[in-house]
C-alpha cells in the first residue's frame, strides 16, 4: 500500500502540472458545457460574450476597491465579486435599454459591453499608479498557470452551478421552453433568469483562467451546440454537452502538449473541429443524413405515375419492364419508387412483376379520378383534345381531396371524361353509412334523407324518406330518383346538392 502511494507521489512529482491542468480544465469544461446549453437555448450567446468582456472592468473595479478600501493587494475574492457585479450591471443595462427604447437587444448588448469594457480600461488607466495588475495576461489566460487558490475557486463555482442545474432542472426547463406557461404556474421566471445570469458570470470568470476572455464564449457555446445536434431531450443534452466540453479540453490539451503550443487556443480549436465533425455526421440533424435522405427521395410524380401505370395495366401482375417502359424516368428512379410503394403497403413486388394491394388500388383509382376530372375541366375551358392528356397528366398530381371535390362540383359531377372514359364515383366520400349530398349518388345507390336545405324546399321530400338513385338525364344535368310508392323525382344540380342523404349499408 505504502509502495503504491509512494509510486503515485513520485509520478505526481514530475507530472503535477498535468494533473493540475486536467483537474482545473475538466471542472471548468463540465460547467461550461452545462451552462452553455441554457445559453444557446435562451439565445444568450452574445450576452455571454458581453459578460466575459464586462468582467474585465469588474476585475479592475474589484481590485481597486480591495486595495483602496481594505489595502489588500490583488485580492482574488474581491475581484471575483467585482466580475460578478460587472456582469450583472451589464445585463441589467442591456435589459433596461432594450425594453425602454426601440433599440433591439443585440444592439443594446454591443453598446453596453463595449462601454463597460472601455470604462474598465479607463479606470485602469486613471488609477494606473495603484494597479499592479497585468491585464493582458488576464485576457489571455493559461490553464498551466492555475494556482491552488484558483483551483478552489473553480471547485466552488463548479459545485454551485452544477447544484443549481441539477436541483432546479424542472423549473429551468420550463422557463426556458415556455416562460408564459411557467409564469402561469407561479414559477418565478425573473428570479430564475437572474440566477442563470449569475451562473453564467461565475462560469465565465473561471473559464477565463483556462482559455482567456476572448475565447470564453467559444468554450461556452460550441460544446453545447454540438450536443444540440444529437439530442432530443434537455436532460441528455446537458450531459452530452458536458462530455463534449470535457473531451475537447482533454484532446486539445494533449494536442497542445504534443505540438508544444499554449493550451487555450488548442482547446477551443478542438471544440470547433469536434462541432464540425458532428455537424456532418449527426444521425438526424447532420448534413450527411440530410443529403442521404434527399438523395433517396423519389419525386412524388414518379411514384404516382408508377401507381397509375400499374392500375391501367389491369393484369393481375404487371411486369416491371412494362412499368419502366411507360413511366418516363430513369430505371433506378422507378426501382426506388417501387420499393417506396412497397414500404408504404401500396403494392407488392413478386419477382419481376408487381401487384397493387387494396390500399394501392384505392390510391391509384383516386389518382385516376383526379386525372379524368382534370381532363374534363381543361376541355371545358377550351384545351384542344390532343393536349388534354398530357396537360391533365401534369395536373393530376394536384389531387388534394378538396381540390378534386371542387372540380367535381364545378363540373356538375360528370360521369364521363372528354375521351368517353368513365369517371369513377366519389368513392372516398361514398362509404356505407356516410352522409353526403344526393348529387354524389350514382345509379343504383340507396339512401335515406337526413336533412333538407333551402333549395330542396317544396319538393315533397321529408327526412327519413328512402330513395334509390336513377340514371342521369339531359346530358348529366338532371338527377333522377325513385321514391317509395313508385314516385319519381327529378332534381337540378342545386337541388340535389341541397338534399343530404345517408348512404345505405349494402
Amino acid at each position: 500500500m505504502n509502495e503504491w502511494f509512494d509510486g503515485v507521489l513520485a509520478w505526481h512529482a514530475t507530472h503535477s502540472h498535468l494533473v493540475r491542468a486536467m483537474l482545473a480544465g475538466v471542472l471548468v469544461a463540465m460547467v461550461c458545457g452545462v451552462t452553455g446549453c441554457y445559453i444557446i437555448l435562451r439565445r444568450m450567446a452574445f450576452l455571454g460574450d458581453a459578460i466575459a468582456h464586462a468582467m474585465l472592468a469588474g476585475v479592475v473595479a474589484g481590485y481597486l476597491l480591495m486595495k483602496g478600501v481594505f489595502g489588500l493587494e490583488a485580492n482574488a475574492p474581491g475581484m471575483l465579486v467585482g466580475s460578478l457585479v460587472a456582469g450583472f450591471v451589464t445585463v441589467a443595462l442591456v435589459g433596461f435599454v432594450s425594453r425602454l427604447s426601440r433599440i433591439k437587444e443585440d444592439t443594446a448588448i454591443g453598446i453596453m459591453y463595449t462601454g463597460v469594457f472601455a470604462a474598465g480600461g479607463l479606470l485602469a488607466s486613471l488609477f494606473s499608479s495603484y494597479i499592479h495588475l497585468d491585464l493582458l495576461h488576464f485576457v489571455t489566460g493559461n490553464v498551466l498557470a492555475v494556482e491552488m487558490v484558483d483551483l478552489w475557486m473553480i471547485a466552488g463555482v463548479a459545485t454551485f452551478v452544477l447544484l443549481v442545474v441539477i436541483l432546479l432542472f424542472r423549473p429551468l426547463q420550463i422557463t426556458s421552453f415556455d416562460p408564459v406557461m411557467a409564469a402561469s404556474l407561479g414559477i418565478p421566471v425573473a428570479a430564475l433568469d437572474y440566477l442563470l445570469t449569475t451562473c453564467t458570470s461565475l462560469v465565465v470568470v473561471s473559464a477565463v483562467n483556462i482559455v482567456g476572455v476572448i475565447l470564453v464564449v467559444g468554450f461556452l457555446v460550441t460544446p453545447a451546440a454540438t450536443a444540440y445536434l444529437v439530442c432530443d431531450r434537455l436532460s441528455r443534452m446537458l450531459v452530452v454537452s458536458a462530455c463534449f466540453a470535457v473531451s475537447s479540453f482533454v484532446l486539445g490539451f494533449l494536442a497542445s502538449a504534443w505540438i508544444n503550443v499554449a493550451p487555450g487556443s488548442a482547446v477551443v480549436v478542438t471544440s470547433t473541429l469536434q462541432f464540425l465533425v458532428v455537424l456532418v455526421i449527426a444521425p438526424r440533424y447532420g448534413l450527411l443524413s440530410d443529403w442521404l435522405r434527399r438523395r433517396g427521395a423519389v419525386p412524388q410524380r414518379i411514384v404516382e405515375d408508377v401507381l397509375g401505370c400499374v392500375l391501367r395495366d389491369g393484369s393481375t401482375a404487371t411486369p416491371i419492364a412494362t412499368v419502366q417502359a411507360h413511366v418516363a424516368s430513369a430505371a433506378d428512379q422507378v426501382q426506388k419508387a417501387l420499393r417506396g410503394l412497397q414500404r408504404e403497403g401500396l403494392l407488392v413486388v413478386a419477382g419481376d412483376a408487381v401487384t397493387l394491394t387494396e390500399a394501392g388500388q384505392h390510391e391509384a383509382r383516386r389518382l385516376l379520378r383526379a386525372h379524368r376530372l382534370w381532363e374534363t375541366y381543361l376541355e371545358r375551358l377550351g384545351t384542344p383534345l390532343t393536349k388534354l392528356h398530357d396537360h391533365a397528366h401534369d395536373l393530376e398530381h394536384v389531387h388534394d381531396e378538396n381540390a378534386v371535390d371542387y372540380l367535381d362540383d364545378q363540373l356538375g359531377h360528370p360521369l364521363v371524361d372528354p375521351h368517353g372514359a368513365a369517371i369513377p364515383e366519389d368513392f372516398v366520400h361514398l362509404t356505407p353509412g356516410a352522409e353526403v349530398p344526393a348529387a354524389l349518388l350514382r345509379e343504383g345507390h340507396e339512401a335515406t334523407v337526413v336533412a333538407l336545405g333551402e333549395a330542396a324546399r317544396g319538393l315533397a321530400l321529408e327526412v327519413g324518406l328512402r330513395l334509390v338513385a336513377g340514371p342521369r338525364r339531359q346530358d348529366g344535368k338532371v338527377w333522377t330518383f325513385r321514391l317509395p310508392a313508385g314516385r319519381d323525382l327529378e332534381l337540378s344540380h342545386e337541388q340535389a346538392d341541397a338534399v343530404l342523404v345517408r348512404l345505405a349499408k349494402s
Binding site: L41, R170, F177, M181, S184, D232, R236, A451
Partner: protein, 265 residues
C-alpha cells in the same frame, strides 16, 4: 341603449366557469377592453371572435391573470383569478413556440403537471399516468418520444392540448388553434376539442375566421373593445351586428348567416 350587448344568454343554475365583471383594461388613453361583462357556462365550446386588434388576446390575458385591469374582475368558478391558478390552462399559438427545443411530446405533456410537483422532486408515477392519459385523449400516444419539431401542424396543436389537459384544468384557453392549418388538420383539431368538451371541460377559443366560427362553436362572444354580443351562435351571428363590428357591408354577411342557420337544425 345601443352600447348594451344583446342579451342572448340563458342564465344557468350552476356556477359559471368564468365570470367577467365590468372588465376594463387599458394600456393608454384608448382602452383595449371597455366594460366587458360576461358569464361563461361550464362545459361549452366558446369562440371569441372580433376583428384584428379587437382586444381578444387582451381578454384571454386578463382571464389568465397576465394583465391587471384598471377596473373590474375575473372570477374562475367563483374564485378570483389569482387564486384559481391551475384551473385555467393556456394553449399557445403555434408561432410562439420554439419547435427546435430538445423536448419530446411526452415531456411537454408532463409539463402540465409541474404546477403540482415540488421542484426538487421527480414527477411521480401518477404524474406520468396523467400525462399519458392526456396524450391518449388527443391520440398522440404513438408519437410520445418524438421531438416536437418532427410533428405536423395538427399534431403540434394536440401536444399542447394534452399539456393543458394534464394540468387538470377545467378551463382551456386556446389562442388561434385553427390558424395556418389545412382542412384535414382543422377537422382533427375540432374533433379533439369536441371530445375534450365531452369530458366536461370548458373551452374558450380565440378565433379569426367568421365563416368557420358559425360551424364550430356552441356559443360566441363578439368582441371589439366592448362586448357586442354573447350567446348561442345563431343568435350572435346577426348580419346587422356583424356589419357594425366588422364595418363591412350587409351583403357579405348575409351568406354567412345563412350557412350558420343551415348547420343548426
Amino acid at each position: 341603449m345601443t352600447t348594451a350587448p344583446r342579451e342572448t344568454t340563458s342564465p344557468s343554475s350552476a356556477t359559471p366557469a368564468i365570470e367577467v365583471r365590468h372588465l376594463t383594461v387599458s394600456y393608454g388613453p384608448v382602452p383595449a377592453l371597455l366594460d366587458v361583462s360576461l358569464s361563461i357556462p361550464a362545459g361549452q365550446l366558446i369562440g371569441v371572435i372580433g376583428p384584428n386588434g379587437s382586444g381578444k388576446s387582451t381578454l384571454i390575458k386578463a382571464i389568465l391573470g397576465f394583465v391587471r385591469p384598471v377596473f373590474g374582475e375575473v372570477l374562475i368558478f367563483g374564485q378570483p383569478a389569482e387564486r384559481a391558478k391551475g384551473r385555467v390552462a393556456y394553449v399557445p399559438q403555434r408561432g410562439s413556440v420554439d419547435w427546435d427545443f430538445p423536448v419530446t411530446v411526452r415531456e411537454v405533456a408532463l409539463m402540465g403537471r409541474f404546477g403540482r410537483v415540488r421542484w426538487w422532486r421527480e414527477p411521480s408515477a401518477e404524474d406520468y399516468r396523467a400525462a399519458d392519459e392526456a396524450l391518449e385523449m388527443v391520440r398522440m400516444t404513438p408519437y410520445r418520444d418524438r421531438q416536437i419539431g418532427q410533428l405536423s401542424g395538427g399534431q403540434q396543436q394536440r401536444v399542447f392540448m394534452a399539456r393543458a389537459m394534464a394540468q387538470g384544468a377545467d378551463i382551456l384557453l386556446l389562442d388561434e388553434p385553427f390558424s395556418g392549418v389545412d382542412a384535414a388538420t382543422e377537422r382533427a383539431i375540432l374533433d379533439v376539442l369536441e371530445r375534450t368538451k365531452a369530458g366536461g371541460r370548458t373551452l374558450i377559443v380565440v378565433h379569426h375566421d367568421l365563416a368557420t366560427a358559425a360551424e364550430y362553436f356552441d356559443m360566441i362572444a363578439l368582441v371589439k373593445q366592448r362586448l357586442y354580443a354573447f350567446g348561442p351562435t345563431a343568435a350572435v351571428l346577426q348580419a346587422d351586428l356583424l356589419a357594425e363590428v366588422y364595418e363591412g357591408r350587409l351583403q357579405a354577411f348575409a351568406g354567412l348567416v345563412r350557412r350558420g342557420k343551415e348547420q343548426s337544425p
